[in-house]
Every structure is written in structure tokens, then in C-alpha cells.
């Protein structure tokens, strides 16, 4: 599980089929004080988190395979919560 901030998005026409219709966000990992804590990464976001929202990310591929309904999906990162307070 990671804490991160939504800092952007990406679009892709050519992608693994399990990404079709998914919103892809670019996130920056943050620490418990909200400060940047690592290199940006991408995640699928079924929750529609807004710009600069703090979010909770799972890196569990098998969970994401379930939510995208595709057992062959290699996708790991997914937004699973929007943080109110930290």
C-alpha cells in the first residue's frame, strides 16, 4: 500500500486490453507529512480522484486483475481510496 498524490494523467490508444476504458493517473508517492517521497508512477483510477488529491494505492496485481475483469492483466497499481486526512 502506498500514499500518493495525483499529479497528472496519461492517455494511451495502444495498451494492454485490460487498460481499455480505464483512467490512468500519474502519482507522486508522499510520506506521512505529505512531502514527496519517491519517483512518480502510474496507476489505474476507478475512483476519479481529483488533481492533487491524496490517495491510497494498492500494488496488488491480483486485486487489480479482479477489478478489470481480466486474469491476464499485468497491471498492479490501483487507486483504492481518497484520503480525507492524514
Amino acid at each position: 500500500m502506498l500514499l500518493a498524490r495525483i499529479d497528472g494523467f496519461a492517455t494511451a490508444t495502444i495498451a494492454h486490453p485490460s487498460l481499455r476504458g480505464q483512467k490512468i493517473v500519474l502519482c507522486t508517492p508522499v510520506d506521512e507529512h505529505g512531502h514527496d517521497a519517491g519517483s512518480p508512477f502510474a496507476a489505474v483510477d476507478p475512483m476519479g480522484a481529483g488533481r492533487h488529491a491524496k490517495v491510497f494505492i494498492t500494488t496488488d496485481g491480483s486485486w487489480t486483475q479482479g477489478t478489470v475483469h481480466d486474469d491476464t492483466s499485468p497491471i498492479r497499481n490501483q487507486v483504492i481510496g481518497i484520503i480525507d486526512s492524514l
Binding site: 495498451a15 492533487h52 496485481g61 497491471i75 498492479r76
Partner: protein, 99 residues
């Protein structure tokens, strides 16, 4: 998933049989400087080699996955650590000022 820019390809004269026909990309990971366009060159991070079945070419910006999940698209076991999952058409990355 991590963003990265394709900076080269690798070809193998001999490889594990699972890799017959495989295409390999040399990828420069895109960090904050690269995503915001401040650094159009190579990243300081180490350079992964990524399996590709989408046809990404030199200069393309891709998303790739590292870890055990990279083998998930394959029916049979395959010794793979990283795979490309998307060719980015467009991205926007704007961290807050002073963040």
C-alpha cells in the same frame, strides 16, 4: 506501472525458448524532471530492459510494469521481470508548486 522513454532495443542470438520472437526495449525511466519536460535527455535512474508486444519504437513514451505481474499475460511460465503495457499518446504531470 512506471513511465519511461524508449531509448533502444536489444536483440538476442540465443535465448530461452519462451522468448522466441520477443522484442526487447531499453527504457529510460521518467521521473519528475522527465515528466515535466525539464530534462529531455536520459534519466539518472538505472535502465531496465522491458519485454514489448505493442510495437513501441525509439523515442516512444511507454508505461511498463515490473515484478511478478509482468508474467501474467502469458499462459506458460516465463522468466520475465518487466513488460510494456501502454504507449502513451499524451501525458500531463503537474506537481503542486513547492510540493
Amino acid at each position: 506501472m512506471k513511465p519511461g522513454r524508449v531509448i533502444g532495443t536489444v536483440t538476442l542470438s540465443q535465448a530461452a525458448p519462451q522468448f522466441r520472437g520477443a522484442r526487447w526495449l531499453v527504457v529510460s525511466p521518467m521521473g519528475r524532471e522527465e515528466l515535466t519536460g525539464k530534462n529531455a535527455g536520459l534519466s539518472r535512474e538505472s535502465t531496465p530492459v522491458v519485454y514489448d508486444n505493442m510495437g513501441a519504437g525509439l523515442g516512444d513514451e511507454i508505461l511498463y510494469v515490473e515484478g511478478a505481474e509482468a508474467t501474467q499475460p502469458f499462459k506458460d511460465p516465463i522468466p520475465l521481470d518487466a513488460i510494456s503495457v501502454a504507449i502513451m499518446d499524451h501525458h500531463c504531470y503537474q506537481p503542486p508548486e513547492g510540493g
